[in-house]
Symmetry: C3
Subunit: 329 residues, 3 copies
């Protein structure tokens, strides 16, 4: 479809920084085969993430009224989601679940060009796998997502910019999704990097948009614009960018006037008819963790890092193009 970009150096030698990241990713595999402990124990790494976490809030909550909150992702320049984002979002999800007045939450972004995007490949894998399970018994990332879906209040994803990986998965876990025609890009890019997506899209997408379009999104792993996302039902609707905020705010305000119990009781029966079980979501997470440790995935992540993933705006903005460049044919 597209020409391959020039590849970065094909050896790892010039990429010492990335090599160490990869060494961290390999922790479980290394542990199995015996030796080679990377500098910094997993728990030290976790602490480092946690302290970085305290230093910079990535998730803001604005209580527009007691009934209507905005939750805004703000981790520039790309709104990457990492293990340090997890406790911050977990805190918000716990409030969403328990606040007695809340009716509706809108998830949006303060970072131009990015709603919320892929998982952070800088921290070692152990920074993710060592996190304690959430209240559902799942890893805290899928745990939060299933709790958002089951919360007794309405969640709406307002998608402007890229919603890739975790960003797409959070949008899919939300009750509704509205996108900018011009500025939204959705994708599950993982298979293009030899990964299996971990936040539930294999369970959610076929139920939402049918098996055929779900497989195109997941196995094509390409960027999907707002119009196609609306045509496929990946989002409820796409609006011209200038109308998106007004529509979502109007809908949220409308719902915020409704009765909390009627919302919760109605949603619970829709949940029964439409939500996957927690073990099905858990199986997706396990498949992701398994996939990320395989050599081909580690090689692909290294190459993407060399190309500029998490650094070069062009790689983040055109991720579907760069994963294609990884491929052998």
């Amino acid at each position: 479809m597209k020409a391959r970009p020039r590849e970065a150096g094909s050896t790892l030698a010039s990429a010492s920084k990335f090599l160490s990241a990869i060494a961290m990713l390999m922790i479980p595999a290394l542990a199995l085969s015996g030796p080679a402990k990377p500098a910094g124990t997993p728990s030290e790494q976790l602490t480092k993430s946690a302290s970085k976490n305290v230093a910079r809030p990535q998730v803001h909550v604005e209580k527009r009224t007691s009934r209507y909150w905005r939750v805004t992702f703000d981790n520039p320049p790309f709104n990457i989601f990492g293990p340090d984002t997890i406790p911050q979002l977990e805190d918000v999800v716990a409030q969403i679940e328990t606040d007695p007045n809340l009716r509706v939450v809108v998830f949006d972004s303060a970072v131009p060009g990015y709603f919320l995007t892929h998982y952070d490949f800088d921290p070692p894998l152990s920074a993710s796998t060592d996190l304690p399970s959430g209240s559902t018994g799942l890893h805290p990332l899928p745990d939060m997502l299933v709790r958002i879906s089951r919360a007794p209040v309405v969640s709406i994803a307002l998608i402007r910019g890229r919603a890739t990986g975790v960003g797409s998965e959070l949008a899919l876990a939300s009750d509704m999704r509205f996108a900018s025609k011009e500025k939204a890009i959705l994708s599950q890019w993982e298979v293009g990097a030899s990964l299996v997506p971990g936040g539930g899209p294999m369970a959610r997408l076929p139920r939402l948009i049918g098996r055929g379009r779900a497989l195109e999104v997941l196995l094509g792993s390409d960027d999907i614009n707002g119009d196609l996302a609306a045509q496929y039902g990946y989002v409820n609707r796409a609006f011209p960018d200038t109308q998106l905020d007004g529509f979502v705010d109007g809908l949220a305000l409308r719902i915020s006037g409704f009765d909390r119990q009627a919302i919760a009781d109605t949603k619970r029966l829709v949940d029964f008819a439409s939500l996957p079980s927690d073990p099905e979501i858990g199986a997706g997470w396990d498949a992701f963790i398994t996939s990320v440790q395989r050599p081909v995935a580690q090689k692909n992540i290294t190459r993407l890092m060399e190309m500029g993933l998490q650094k070069n705006p062009d790689v983040e903005a055109r991720l579907g193009h760069y994963t294609e460049a990884l491929g052998e044919r």
Copy 2:
């Protein structure tokens, strides 16, 4: 989104007629706490409904051929559906289930502007709850709807005008739905009045249009026009109003020429893949009955009645607007 209309008097004092309706709605709650029997026992009320029923047919059956029937709702001015409609429709459903020659039934309306709309709030709740269960063991309203879905013949809803509440639920229980682009409005308005919908849309909508759009329809509780309904799959297709009748009649005539057994055997396997279970539908009805007895719902229904529900054409025609006016923010 829209300005609030001037509210009717905020006390109930000036609304004696509605107060008595509300008193009837409160029967079960009152019964639990002991005293205060309203004038007219439930069975007297039921008899009154039944006799009114005999006096004015609201559901007409036209047998265009032995194989193709039209079932027309005709309860002007708004095609409201009440406990007195139930035995009339039940009679038709029993014929649909058992007639040996029938292949296809089209549901339509003789009332301009209304396909079929919300439940009647004038009769006491007992007029509904005292009705004997149908053959599925469900209350006769959801009972009829699940029997239409499982009948060995094809049902088609031809939607011109408003299909709200029961009207939307009957359309969703039908096998197919076609709508007028200009003149169809679909809605599940209930959550906007602090009610839970009772006729199965929490079970049917997510299976039909996906969880995201189903939650928008149910929790947004707003009016949906023909084009958006078609875009969402809430109806099969929307046609320019002048073409709707011709299309539906042509499709019904076509199907009427087909073999009854092939239709029934094919439909039965689609049913297996797509219909919710009866207990799931029953849970929705129970949630509706519970919701209608809660004080906030009674207050909202009273306020809507004061605004002109079941009287003022503007309230019936723009129900999504008036439920928004009920809200606190």
Copy 3:
């Protein structure tokens, strides 16, 4: 909707060729009632099919690369699918399941106007029913279809021309479907001929496009063009005919560069969320075999054969029109 064409002679007397075909169709029924053995035992018939089979390949495999194959149906003039096609396609499906390098298969057609169409009504029914079960325990036709859906590689149907009956069912069993706006026609025509479809569309269509549109496709039994198929989600997307090949080839090439294990692991979890069980598919096949033996179906097939089914291009090209002409009203 459309005028009835002039009917062929209403007695069977002038149709001796077809009478013998029908006699063969009646084998199982005749066997039950005792006498009347048709010339040629079932196994002789099967051998004849098999030898015809050897003589003319109907399914070609082109290995564009070790990772990306094209499977092309080539049985002019109508790409009819018969018992003699089954072992040829079975051979291809077995390769698809086991080749260690394959990532993606595109199904297309070498016959202008026809992607792949209905089951062959010339051979006796026994030529189909006597075939040994496939590895799933199902009859080999549904067996192959469920194996394509579960294969660890991606399957894409490129639909140009008519995809009716088995053609539609193979497309539905594939992971994705892309159609020509101008030249694709999809249909499940069976109910129009008093048959029940046998290759799984009662299980697959409601899960893919919702109950309402699935029932319209199956019980309306009419021809669906590319645009409507895309609007309904029956195909992923429809493209202008000149762009279809480029898009599908680009997508297949893209996927061919991805990791086999990541594809398989991701698809397996989508399968869990979206595929019907084998017994549900088996029930559809049994319903087809039952339906084809009923007198009304035999009469309709005879009349379609008299009109020119499997001979006259106009009958094959406008099958939805000719089934309507069969109907009584």
